[in-house]
Symmetry: D2
Subunit: 121 residues, 4 copies
């Protein structure tokens, strides 16, 4: 299952990530439980675990420096969990995630025109 | 803000998606509210909106065919929302998402060895 | 289904609330979908809807005065939704909610002794 | 902090639960962090922890018998956590929870008339 390539946002396509997650699932024969419904729950469960790291403080408490390397690493792993379930969810329903993001952003461009909604500090 | 390229999982890197979302935010000067804490909430809020589509039925109700094209499109937009906030969140803390997924999956490989946990139907 | 009594925290037991919600469900014969799994999802979905009202601001933005009567009323309805699903969930598994709160608080008393954890401003 | 009375849905008002939770917080001077925003997050975080117990199975897996006493006790504690934060949230904004449930149910009575929406099996 090892992937030789070192993944990075710069060099890795969404499809490569998706395939990587899928190979992991196939190797374990885990598809029976990975229904869209269960995966939707999983995304929400992991999203809540990201939130736990930001539960009681204010904005100034949550810089990488103040969080520190250990907490940052925990957060990184929670984010990965959301993403892994997102990719499985998309695969379970045949959704192309990059295409969906573009389609949604194009709607957002219309809904929130930059020259109208631009925040002026 | 228009992106000429047509995005797809096959051809689009996570970094390109991230840059696309960031450009949208910069054009609107929205960074002040996009704190890690607020974005963590946003991910969870949008994740719940995915779940809404799967609230009352059983596994057999949730195929692309039974959901139908209109519902599938709504789901696609909810998934995009989670992803957009995920990318903003990662940027707000300097997290490389593809790298994080690989790091987490490597832990999962050790934690769930395929030959041990493989489901036998 | 109308309940003559005017409910209030002061005068209404958890059991009365529970019965009120149950009568509503019985009258609609909705129990088939109200499985513990689906109700757990519902609680989370409605909890996210509370959060939506607090997504982008800081602590000083969220007083009853600043929120205003209309927003306060929306929040009140979201809180009610969480509670309604909580009561259905408890009933679906035979959980006594008041008893559970007491049991949990007794654990919390031990885990967070007031004289040790008391915040000194 | 000990409460002599044994709480139960039958005999305990929502207000008594609310006061019990409030006394716990006062004794620890924890109000500074217990803002409506943070408590809304807490409700969602704990709601996700309830869901974790129902992540991969189907309806038939989640009876009290199949869950077993140990798991049931864990679920009971998660439900209590949601309720505790719900009560703190309500107090932070001056919301009467029982009153809110009644107001919402009265809307639901109108929105879902029993004779119209009643499920026929």
């Amino acid at each position: 299952m090892a992937v030789d390539k070192k993944f990075s946002d710069q060099a890795t396509t969404v499809g490569e990530l998706n395939q990587y997650v899928e190979d992991f699932m196939v190797a374990r024969n885990w598809h029976r439980e990975r229904t869209p419904k269960n995966l939707a729950m999983s995304i929400a469960i992991e999203a809540a675990e990201i939130m736990e790291h930001f539960q009681w403080g204010d904005r100034e408490d949550y810089t990488p420096e103040k969080l520190g390397p250990e907490k940052m690493d925990e957060i990184r792993m929670e984010v990965a969990d959301v993403m892994i379930f997102m990719l499985s969810f998309c695969r379970s329903l045949g959704i192309d995630l990059a295409e969906a993001v573009q389609a949604k952003q194009e709607k957002n461009e219309v809904r929130f025109p930059a020259d109208v909604v631009r925040r002026v500090d």
